[in-house]
Amino acid sequence: MKMKKVAYPYILWMAIFIVIPLFLILYFAFTTGDSQNFATFQFSLDNFKRFFTPTYLKVLGRSVNLAFISTIICLILGYPLAYIISKAEPRKRNMMVLMLVIPMWMNFLLRTYAWLTLLGRNGFINFVITKIGFKPLELIYNDKAVLLGMVYNFLPFMVLPIYTVLIKIEKSLIEAAEDLGANKIEVFSKVVLPLSMPGIITGITMVFIPAVSTFVISALLGGNKYNLIGNLVEQQFRWTGDWHFGSSMSIILMIFILITMALTSKFDKEKEGGGGGLW
């Protein structure tokens, strides 16, 4: 059957809109010149040399650090929730899954921005704190606020894949473990947790990748002083106009993500084929 031909338009599409753009970024990253004029481009490693100086490495370090912590928090908060949902009766279960998805229908910038109302100097939380008789806290424009924004935005991405794996675990496997003498804790640690590993891995990548590359959350909740690598890329492309330097940082970001995925896929041998293999 010649059905495969119907994919040819999309293959052409991918070549133009996925492959060429990445080569362009690569090209920009290894050249310098006037970003607006391709004729002036010259091969150079200056962009990378510039990045590997303390100023920029510090930014990278902070980005990775914040993304890592927020991923851990999402996992700690999200796993129990996924577990509780998976154990609920079907009606309640579907309801709760829906309730996880519904917030995403409200513009995420607005939702993140709304935290300012809650956390700000005159915000709701400080209002409560001062009413009780304490001094108002500095809750925004710092690392903690950025972390909160990350956890808030990405928590559902941790819960959903873990939940999906958990409900697929056959009941008979849990019964088999009980049959063989495992109590509730042993059933969890020896059967449920190892079997939910693929969901955890997916969750980690789905939280870590957007967290490490975000520039919106830091721009909204971190104030201007809290630069992450995403903010640097944004500045180079939107304001400074040094696309070469911006591209080199994009490449570094991608390499970082490739490393993360290689690390996580090591723990995830069972992952069904179909994609992700080459990356």
């Binding site: 059957m1 010649k2 059905m3 495969k4 119907v6 994919a7 040819y8 338009p9 999309y10 293959i11 809109f17 996925i18 492959v19 753009p21 362009l24 970024i25 920009f28 391709f38 929730l81 509780i84 709760m96 829906l98 309730m99 519904i102 917030p103 229908w105 409200m106 513009n107 995420f108 910038l109 607005l110 993140t112 921005y113 709304a114 935290w115 300012l116 109302t117 809650l118 700000g120 005159n122 915000g123 709701f124 928590l155 990748i209 590359s213 520039f215 919106v216 721009a219 995403g230 492309f237 911006g246 994009s250 970001l253 991608m254 993500i257 179909g274 994609g275 293999g277 080459l278 990356w279």
Partner: protein, 261 residues
């Protein structure tokens, strides 16, 4: 019993955390003051002003226009692509799928700047066209990913049976395969629509010429203070989505009862 109470409390707290900002947004869309944090009485004035605010209405128009167009185009493109990919032999299937995964796995910002570089390279003017194209680029992979599982579930011999009965491949595609994978196509289309409507990063880098969507509008407002009109608009959009959802839910429930499930 204690553990059940604990579970409920935990679930409640997490959902409170997820919904707190949304409640704040909705409440403050009725606040009779421009400043956030201070409650100055109940009002509908932001809802009235919404319909006078040309800037925001224009952003809403572009948001919806791009969302509808990109959802439709990426659904058609993605559905055919999925059918083709499904019928490809091993290695080329693997390569195609991996390329398709790139916009899903890549950080938004990298996809955004790489497209920006592409449009500059082709000397395209930034505006509606570039924004629409970039939305199709990142929506189509999701359509493919939601259609492919349906193809895998489908009986492999369905299309062959149709052709055995005299159908041309195109007829088999139209009358047998597409109806069979319809649920996946619809899911993909809705996904593309919501992704597009909520997108900020890709649009932010790939627009120009005074074309902006709601996200971009909100982002630029966030520096000078959010206009409560936006709260009113978001509340309206949110509520209408919930109502739509309830209607769909009622309908499927009714269908299930009629079918005796």
């Amino acid at each position: 019993m204690v553990s059940r109470g604990l579970k409920r409390l935990y679930t409640f707290l997490i959902f409170l955390f997820l919904y707190a900002p949304i409640i704040v947004l909705i409440v403050f869309s009725f606040n009779n003051s421009k400043s956030r944090g201070v409650w100055a009485g109940f009002t509908f004035k932001w809802y009235i002003e919404l319909f006078k605010d040309a800037e925001i209405l224009k952003a809403l128009y572009y948001t919806l226009l791009v969302a509808v167009l990109s959802a439709l185009i990426s659904t058609v493109l993605g559905t055919f692509a999925a059918i083709g990919i499904y019928n490809m032999p091993g290695l080329s299937k693997k390569i195609t799928l991996n390329l398709n995964y790139l916009p899903v796995l890549n950080p938004d910002i990298v996809t955004a700047v790489s497209l920006m570089a592409l449009f500059r390279f082709f000397k395209m003017e930034f505006g509606l066209a570039t924004m629409l194209l970039s939305h199709i680029v990142f929506c189509t992979p999701y359509v493919i990913l939601s259609v492919l599982p349906k193809l895998k579930q489908m009986n492999k011999h369905l299309a062959e049976a149709a052709m055995d009965l005299g159908a041309t491949p195109f007829y088999a595609l139209r009358k047998v395969i597409i109806p069979e994978i319809m649920p996946g196509i619809i899911t993909g289309c809705l996904m593309a629509f919501t992704l597009s409507i909520d997108d900020f990063v890709i649009s932010f880098f790939n627009t120009g010429n005074n074309v902006s969507n709601l996200s971009i509008e909100i982002f630029s407002m966030s520096r000078r203070g959010i206009n409560p009109v936006i709260n009113a608009l978001s509340t309206l959009m949110f509520v209408s989505l919930i109502i739509l959802l309830l209607i769909i839910n009622k309908r499927t429930e009714k269908n299930e009862i009629e079918r005796g499930v």
